[in-house]
């Protein structure tokens, strides 16, 4: 194998047709057995010949964005000019008041000390591929902003030796590269200056979306746009949502032997539960568990069948401020219309971050309805004595994943642990955990994205540190003979972990099952005669 040439920052604008880097699975950091043999894994799905002729493929061999090759030099130049215009708009108060201050603070004060690099799960897992270093992307972007959006930038760039070319190669690669970061912000946590490379990545995505109209299909066209139109990025219409819930209610009523009934559009209820629609479709047991807990605790609760009141996701958080604001505003309007006392955000991390904090300064006046995490909501119930628990029902190994958007970003760390320490006798922590957790690898929208072969990136690189941690947490029972529960209280995380688990065959090889927090609470209830957690059995 020939040694790779060290990648330079200026390489980004050279050879638009060539890949910047090739990923070799053997260079990634090793995984514990039985996952250490790369030849037994599916590998990286190569692009087909047809895809190679149609799609831009000049980054790392992964493709998330299905960017079509431009037909002419003119078309390329047009995009480059738009990008340049976008750089300026990011520094413009009217266009970017939402993040101007954090952006400028992060752009202007990085001292290139590289303290952040080793915190990045993508960079480290990749065996330190330069291309994934948090500062690689950020420094290129910084140099572009300095050169094209600031007075005297062009000659200052030369003088400082920080010149960088803006051309088709640069922008097409930056676009894909903006989606090799999970916005987990581990890097930001370690930066001694307080620079946030995750934020910089998001601003870059924003420029592409808000100026060029470039965004991953799953996040935009089939994401926020579909959600605002139909009700949910899954395509779930209100009537179908209700119909599905009715089906699950009946199904669980039958299998559990207790009456379950979802409340819809109850005016004046205390609590509006805002789940992700994906939980209804892919993890219905989670939604049912919420209903059981609320009913047993005597809470007055409701779901909403307004568009998009039954889907709490907000992909705008990942790539576009306008879409973020639209979705958050609709959610608040629905709560206002129902006259609920508060919104309880379901097991979805980015919904938490979007609605609890980021949108807090978008929802003015009577739209600023109190919003609480399901975690504190549950903690209050679990320790209120209203429900009787028998923790021995949860006597199996349990570990907890900390969704970045709930833990690192919101600082909700202990309540979920108090619940687990009480209800799960074999609860054990991962290392590191809490605010230092490793990201699942599906943050920043990656979890929702699945085009071409990006799932291979998510399983092999982005989720690698997480997989390692999970396996290590259960190293006392490495084999599938003992069922183990990975509690991941976030839909995006669960879906990403499913991608990892499918890729490596983790459920079969190690006997680890993915679920949320609500299921563990219900499983421990004395009143429930049958086990709620069924380990994949129907």
């Amino acid at each position: 194998m020939t040694k790779k040439k060290k990648l330079t920052l200026n390489d980004i604008s050279r050879n638009a047709e060539k890949r910047l880097t090739e990923i070799n699975i053997d260079e990634l950091i090793p995984l514990p057995p039985p996952y250490d043999k790369s030849e037994e894994l599916p590998g990286i799905k190569p692009l087909t010949d047809d895809q190679k002729t149609r799609l831009v493929d000049n980054l790392d061999g992964f493709n998330a964005l299905v960017l079509l090759k431009p037909q002419s030099k003119e078309e390329e130049d047009k995009f480059v000019r738009q990008f340049e215009a976008g750089l300026k708009k990011l520094l413009n108060k009217g266009d970017n008041w939402t993040f101007l201050q954090p952006l400028l603070l992060s752009l202007e004060h990085c001292v290139r000390c590289q303290t952040c690099s080793d915190a990045c799960p993508v960079y480290v897992a990749s065996g330190k591929q330069e291309i994934y270093r948090p500062t690689y992307r950020a420094e290129i972007f910084r140099r572009l902003i300095n050169k094209f959006a600031k007075p005297g930038g062009k000659w200052l760039a030369k003088l400082k030796g920080a010149d960088i070319k803006l051309n088709w190669a640069t922008i097409s690669r930056l676009y894909e590269l903006a989606y090799r970061c999970t916005l987990c912000r581990r890097c930001a946590q370690t930066c001694p200056i307080g620079v946030d490379n995750g934020l910089i990545t998001r601003e870059l995505r924003k420029l592409f979306s808000q100026e060029l109209g470039w965004a991953p299909k799953e996040l935009h066209e089939k994401g926020t746009v579909l959600q605002l139109e139909v009700g949910s990025p899954t395509g779930l219409r209100p009537d179908v949502a209700k119909d599905n819930m009715e089906f699950i209610d009946e199904d669980f009523t039958e299998s559990l032997g207790i009456k379950i009934k979802t409340n819809w559009d109850k005016q004046g209820a205390d609590v509006l539960l805002l789940h992700s629609a994906g939980d209804i479709l892919s993890f219905p047991e989670s939604v049912i568990a919420f209903a059981i807990i609320c009913d047993k605790a005597g809470i007055s609760w409701t779901l909403s069948s307004d568009i998009p009141g039954y889907d709490g996701v907000n992909y705008g958080l990942f790539y576009d401020d306008i879409q973020l604001a639209k979705v958050a505003t609709r959610h608040a309007q629905i709560a206002k219309k129902l006259k609920v006392k508060k919104i309880v955000m379901g097991e979805c991390g980015h919904e938490h971050k979007a609605l609890a904090t980021v949108a807090d300064r978008l929802l003015t006046g009577d739209l600023n309805i109190p919003r609480e995490s399901f975690i504190t909501f549950f903690e209050d119930i679990v320790f209120s004595g209203k429900i009787k628990f028998d923790p021995s029902k949860n006597n199996f190994p349990v570990t907890l994943h900390d969704p970045c958007n709930i833990v690192r970003n919101l600082g909700i760390v202990e309540p979920q642990r108090r619940i687990l320490r009480y209800l799960c006798p074999q609860f054990r922590e991962m290392i590191p955990h809490g605010v230092d957790n490793q990201c699942c690898g599906g943050g920043g929208g990656l979890s929702v994205m699945s085009d071409v072969n990006i799932n291979d990136f998510k399983a092999l690189i982005a989720g690698r540190m997480k997989l390692k941690q999970i396996l290590e947490a259960f190293s006392d029972h490495p084999r599938p003979d003992v069922n183990k529960y990975l509690c991941a209280p976030c839909l995006n995380c669960k879906l990403q972990m499913r991608v990892i688990f499918d890729y490596y065959g983790v459920q079969e090889k190690s006997g680890i099952y993915i679920g949320g927090l609500a299921e563990l609470i219900v499983n421990a209830m004395v009143d429930l005669k049958k086990p709620f957690i069924t380990w994949g059995e129907e």
């Binding site: 009217g94 201050q101 400082k160 746009v225 202990e414």
Partner: protein, 301 residues
């Protein structure tokens, strides 16, 4: 350089430096309220800081006023400033150089302060014995600063140049900045070595400076050292080294800013969403000038 050039040179630079720093800080302060983007752990949450928690850990947190503690913020900053705690934890290979360079700078600043005190003592004609003590302190502080700082800065230059993790991210301006700092330390050592009453001479110089004595003068070596220091002070506001002050804002105004919306903010926000937007992507429907708030409110079509 002698006579009145000195006070003009030095006080102009100090004035320009202050003006530039005030400008940079005002620019930051006057930026619009931004959306929340906090990051745990947040030290002002006194009870929960140890595990990185925030007030959002509290059931119905809005029912209670959430106090912000002041002390932990000071401790946090002190550990950062004096011990470079973050670099120690996350980048130990850099720490010896970063730490010594910073301490070199701190000590040089401290020595400037001592020279000022010495000038005052000279003006007040305190007994020679007392003055000698202060001269010695100033000398020790300054020379230690030069040596420690030089070690750090040479280490950093080598590290930047030799370590592949740094080389690509170091531009001319990075080296220029470091060499500039090295020049301060080296010229300081030279000035000290060539003079047998280093602190005394600087004390006298400082006195003449503040009394705007036209007889002010100094040796070539000492003069060069002083000029380099003040040119550096002039250069500093144009570089990322302003982080000594902007770090306050990256932390306070972003990372630790978890204040829920309040009335003052609401008023500002109302203005902000009334501003015209010019983004060109079709879905924004800005029409190059529609207002932010309207774009968001408008029903999707």
């Amino acid at each position: 350089m002698s006579g009145l050039y000195w006070p003009v040179f030095i006080f102009t630079i100090v004035f320009v430096f202050i003006a530039l720093m005030v400008y940079r800080v005002l620019k930051i302060i006057k930026m619009p309220v931004h959306l929340r983007w906090e990051l745990a752990p947040i030290p002002h949450d006194k009870e929960r800081y140890s595990h990185g928690g925030s007030y959002l850990e509290e059931h119905e947190w809005w029912r209670r006023k959430q106090p912000k503690a002041f002390f932990p913020i000071i401790t946090y900053m002190a550990w950062e400033i004096f011990l470079m705690k973050g670099v120690w934890q996350h980048n130990r290979g850099l720490w010896p150089f970063s730490f010594t360079l910073h301490w070199g700078i701190y000590l040089v600043i401290l020595s400037l302060f001592f020279h000022f005190i010495n000038a005052m003592l000279l003006i007040g004609s305190v007994p020679a014995a007392v003055q000698d003590v202060f001269f010695s302190i100033a000398s020790v502080v300054a020379v230690t600063g030069y040596c420690v700082g030089l070690f750090g800065v040479v280490g950093l230059i080598l590290k930047r140049y030799l370590d592949k993790n740094y080389r690509e991210y170091s531009s001319y301006s990075t080296y220029f900045k470091l060499l500039f700092l090295a020049a301060i330390f080296v010229s300081g050592i030279v000035a000290w070595a060539l003079s047998n009453d280093f602190a005394n001479a600087l004390g006298v110089f400082t006195r003449d400076l503040f009394t705007v004595d036209s007889g002010i003068t100094t040796t070539a070596a000492m003069g060069s050292h002083i000029i380099i220091i003040f040119l550096f002070i002039l250069y500093l506001p144009f570089t990322d080294m302003v982080h000594f002050i902007t770090k306050f804002f990256t932390h306070h105004s972003v990372r630790w800013d978890d204040s829920p919306q309040n009335e003052k903010m609401t008023a500002k926000l109302r203005d902000l969403i009334n501003q015209p937007v010019t983004w060109s992507a079709p879905h924004v429907k800005s029409n190059r000038g529609n207002r932010w708030g309207d774009i968001v409110e408008k029903e999707n079509d």
